[in-house]
Each structure stands twice: as C-alpha cells, then as structure tokens.
C-alpha cells in the first residue's frame, strides 16, 4: 500500500517537472517572442553575428523545433550561455550553489526548529504569558519583509556597531588559513542567516500555533487527560505529533518562500550565491541565466515537496488508509 502511494507521488512529481519544462519554454519563447531583443547591444549586431547568436541560443526553426531542441538540451544539462558573461549558465550556477546551499540549509533548519517550538508553546497555553509575548512578535516578524530586517541588521549590527561584516563571504583583505578561515566564513554567515531565519520564523510559528489549537479541541486529548496522564505527556505524546502533521505540507510550501527570501537576503549582503545571481540577472536582463535559475528553483521546491509528501505518508496512517 505504502509503496504504491510513494510511487504515485513520484509519478506526480514527474508530471510536475514536465509541466515546469513546458511552462519555461512557454514563458521564455512564447510570452517573450523575441528574446534576442534583450541581448546587450543587439541593434549593433551584423547579420552574420545575429544568425550566429540565434543558432547558439537555439532560436532558429519553428516553435515546435525550438521546443524539441529546448527539451533535449535541458535534459542533457545544457542551459545555454549567460548573455552577460557568455560563460555556460550551468558553470555560473554551480560556482555559486555551495554558498546558497549553506545559507538556505542552515536557515531552513533553524526556522523550522525554532518556529515550531514557539508555535507549540504558544498554542499549548493560549493566552498565557509566553503566548501573549510570542504571538505579537510572530505577527510583527510575519509582516516584516526579510530584506528590511536584513537592512536593519546591516545598518546597526554591521555598519554602526561593527560586530559583523556587512557583506560577502570572506574577508578579501586577509588571507586566513585553517581554523581562522572557518571563523571568518562563519562571521560572514551570521547576519544573512539571522535575516532569513527571522524573516520566515513568524509564519512557521503562527501555522504551528493554529495547528496546536485545532488539535487541542480533539476528543482524544480529553481521553488522554481523563486517563490521568501528566500534562507534559499529553502534550508531547498526543498533542504535538498530531499537530505536526498538517504543518508538514505547509512547511514544504513555505520552502518556496524561503528561496524567494534568499534572493533579497543575498542582495542586501552582497552574498555571492544564486540569489545575488538572480538580482544581477534582473539588472542585466540576462534571460538564459534567469531561465535556468527559475527552472532550478522550481525543481528544488518540487523535490522538497515530494519529499515532504512521502515523509507524511509514513508518518500519518490516515493517509495510507484513506487514499
């Protein structure tokens, strides 16, 4: 039963990924019918250069031929060359990927871990002292654009107090080795990670709190209490596991927002990852780069979602029986 469900989820994933491919082509070749017009200095190109570029970016032939070629190239990992640097887009992305993985990875884990804890505590004793402080705090964080938070950190903790560097990943003036190199890198990560974590903490803790409140109304909690279980055990063994389930899929959807947040956070701190690359691609109207970045982030979010779905099928027996 479970295997069949997992298989079904995987098929869903393949369908979604195929839709991403078609949608990408639609956006970049149909909505934007003349991509070459965005090529820098396109009006000064000679006819020969023009033909060469059209051929290089696979823009010749009918839309259908273009589509087949586009799918073929994409599946072979060929995303073309950047309009800006003329390097292959894939190498541009691979160069910056580790930085972003580090930033988004740490922030996602921190946001989920801290946000869920806050939500559980606030929901368990609604109207209590913790809830009265944490919920307005979560609301305020939810309403704050993460880049504004980052700007405040940069201005006060970075520029004014000088506690942390204001940008980049390493100190270019110093050549650290060994342990001090790691410390230098960590110091550059503090503000971006704090920004991205706090920027999305609010929505996670609010979702978890609501989920807790819904669970607290269930009959099985009354039963657990009636059995004479200690309050702690009722919360840890009965309320929390059930309240976590609906949040898993919301957490997965939230991952898409964290990716969006990484774009602005990296921009604020000039942190050379995929987010800053997105910002630069906007500035340069670098379509091949933008297309690859968009495809890349869509695939990351879909994979993350499918992963959450599969985890959920193992965690929640109701899904296995119900479907």
């Amino acid at each position: 039963m479970t295997t069949r469900l997992v298989l079904k989820k995987l098929i869903d994933a393949v369908v979604l990924l195929a839709m991403v491919l078609v949608f990408n082509f639609f956006l970049f070749r149909v909505v934007d019918h003349d991509p070459l017009a965005k090529y820098r200095g396109h009006s000064k190109l000679s006819q020969a250069q023009r033909t060469a570029i059209i051929k290089r970016f696979g823009l010749d032939g009918s839309k259908w031929e273009q589509f087949v070629r586009f799918v073929d190239r994409t599946l072979h990992g060929d995303f073309g060359r950047s309009f800006n640097s003329t390097r292959p887009v894939v190498s541009e992305i691979l160069d910056r990927l580790p930085n972003t993985l580090l930033l988004v990875g740490i922030s996602t884990v921190l946001t989920i871990a801290i946000g869920i804890r806050i939500g559980i505590r606030a929901g368990w004793q609604r109207g209590g002292r913790f809830d009265r402080i944490s919920t307005p705090f979560s609301m305020a964080l939810y309403g704050t654009p993460e880049f504004f938070l980052g700007m405040l950190f940069l201005a006060f903790l970075g520029a004014k107090l000088g506690w942390f560097p204001t940008g980049g990943v390493t100190n270019p003036a110093a050549h650290y080795t060994g342990f001090s190199a790691i410390v230098d890198r960590a110091r550059h990560l503090v503000l971006p990670v704090a920004t991205l974590t706090l920027g999305y903490l609010g929505s996670y803790s609010l979702v978890m709190r609501t989920s807790m409140l819904d669970t607290l109304r269930e009959d099985y909690l009354t039963t657990a209490r009636a059995k004479g279980l200690r309050d702690r055990d009722v919360m840890r063994r009965h309320a929390v596991p059930n309240a976590l389930l609906p949040s898993v899929s919301l957490i997965a959807i939230g991952f898409g927002f964290i990716i969006g947040g990484a774009i602005t956070t990296e921009t604020v701190f000039s942190y050379p990852g995929l987010g800053l690359a997105t910002y630069q691609a906007i500035g340069n109207t670098d379509l091949p780069m933008m297309q690859a970045l968009f495809m890349f982030s869509s695939v990351a979010v879909i994979v993350f979602n499918i992963f959450a779905d599969v985890v959920l099928t193992f965690l929640d027996p109701r899904i296995r029986v119900g479907a």
Partner: protein, 268 residues
C-alpha cells in the same frame, strides 16, 4: 480594531498624498537644488534621499503606489482563484482533474522567482506589476474555494435544484456563489498583505517604476545609495515601517473577518 485604525491611516495617506506633497517632487530633477542625504529638518520632515528628493513626499506617494498594486493584484488573484475554484469544485471528471493539476502546479512553483520572470518579460509599470502578482497569487484561494464548493454541492438545496433541472450556470450563480462569498471576502483580505509584501520584494530587486516609487522601491534606493552604512535612518526606516504597518493592518482585519464568517474558528 487596531488593524482597522492602521488601515484607515494608510488609506488616508494614499488619498491625501497630493495635499502634502506635489507629484513633481518624485522626479529626479526635483532634488537638484536640495542637499543630498540630508537629515530631517523643518523643511524636509524626513530628510532627503541621495539625489535630494524629499523622503516625506516619497513615503506619502509610496502609500498610493503600494496600495494600488496590492489591491489591484488582490482583485486579479481573487477573480482567477474564484472562477477556477468554482469550476474545479463543481465540475466532475477530467475537467476537475486538469484544474486541480494546474492549481497544484501554481501552488508549488516558487512564487517570487516566477513573479520576477514575468515582470522581467512583461514590463514594470504599476498596473503590469499588479497583474503579474495577481496572476501568480491565486492558487491557495482557489484551493479553499474548491473545498467549500465540494461540501456545498452535497447540501440538500443544491441537490434539489439539480433534481428540478436547473442549469449549472443557475446553480452556481444562485446557490453556490452565495455560499462561498464570505470565504472569498475573508480570503481576499488575507491576500492583500501578501501582495503588498510581494510588490515590495520585486521593487526592492529593481523591478519597479523609478518615478512612481512604491515603498519597496524607496528601500532599494536606500540600499543602493549606501544610506545603511552612512547611517541615514530617515531614508530607510519610514518606508520599511510603513510596509510592516500596512501588512499587519490587513492581516488583523482579515483574521477578524475570517472569525466573523466562520464562528467555528473561535477566539484565536
């Protein structure tokens, strides 16, 4: 109540912007003779930006741009979401399945990258920005409405109308739509803050109109001009606090509406 008061304040700001500041103050030339990045004084209540423009004028007019884009985007998102949600909930068979697949797809696509791509390809005027945001923001609402329609369809009065031979169109307009309308309204008031945040993000990334700046665009200017390291707090604090305020205002009002329309939610 706090939400409603804040909301009134921001709407008043947007409506009264021309009274307090002339539109021409937004032009690049407006600050020619003013000191650049000057701290607040009697003439410039919120100081000036890096080309000498009056930050107070930027913030007042920013309310107008941010609200316009946020509200128009919400209307677009609500219309798309409601229509698709109604069809997906009411139709059966493959229509319903295809709608659900499209909905799933838009729900899972990372929103900001998609909006960036659309804005990059389509243009940057406030109206286009609103269409772009609205066009990518409807999937959650459509899902909610579909669920509500599914449950309404099983109710006695809809079954009775079907049995009497009423057309689908009649049933949707007369029986289903009134049932989902409160949900649509509550959902709309919760889309507004998301749309305003999205707009400020896109503007911050350089996808805004330079001469009708929203608050996000003002923040982009602050970031790019080095106001952060120069400690020019009057340039970046006001627009940032305005974004937080307006998002909270709409969220609080939205939550209150949701509670009014769905008493089962109780006092959260």
């Amino acid at each position: 109540m706090v939400g409603l008061a804040l909301m009134t304040l921001f709407v008043a700001m947007a409506l009264l912007a021309p009274v307090f500041a002339n539109r021409s103050e937004l032009q690049a030339a407006a600050g020619r003779n003013n000191p650049n990045l000057h701290a607040p004084n009697g003439k410039f209540w919120l100081g000036t930006d890096e080309i000498g423009r009056n930050v107070f004028a930027l913030v007042m007019w920013g309310a107008r741009v941010s609200l316009y884009i946020g509200l128009l985007a919400t209307v677009v998102a609500v219309v798309i979401g409601s229509v698709l949600g109604l069809i997906a909930g009411y139709a059966r068979g493959w229509v319903s399945r295809v709608m659900l697949a499209i909905d799933d797809f838009f729900l899972v696509l990372p929103f900001i990258p998609l909006a960036i791509v659309l804005a990059l390809l389509l243009g940057r005027s406030p109206t286009i920005m609103a269409l772009v945001i609205g066009g990518t923001f409807w999937a959650g609402g459509s899902r909610l409405i579909r669920a509500q329609v599914l449950s309404l369809r099983e109710r006695g009065y809809v079954e009775r109308a079907t049995a009497l031979g009423a057309s689908s169109r009649h049933i949707i307009m007369r029986h289903v739509l009134p049932g989902v309308a409160p949900l649509i309204i509550a959902n709309a008031s919760l889309i507004v803050p998301g749309a305003i945040l999205a707009e400020s993000t896109l503007a911050f990334l350089g996808l805004g109109d330079r001469f009708s700046p929203s608050w996000g665009k003002v923040l982009e200017g602050a970031q790019a001009s080095g106001a952060l390291t120069l400690n020019a707090w009057w340039y970046y604090l006001p627009p940032g606090l305005c974004i937080i305020g307006i998002v909270l205002a709409f969220t609080l009002v939205g939550n209150a509406l949701e509670r009014i329309f769905d008493p089962r939610l109780g006092d959260r």
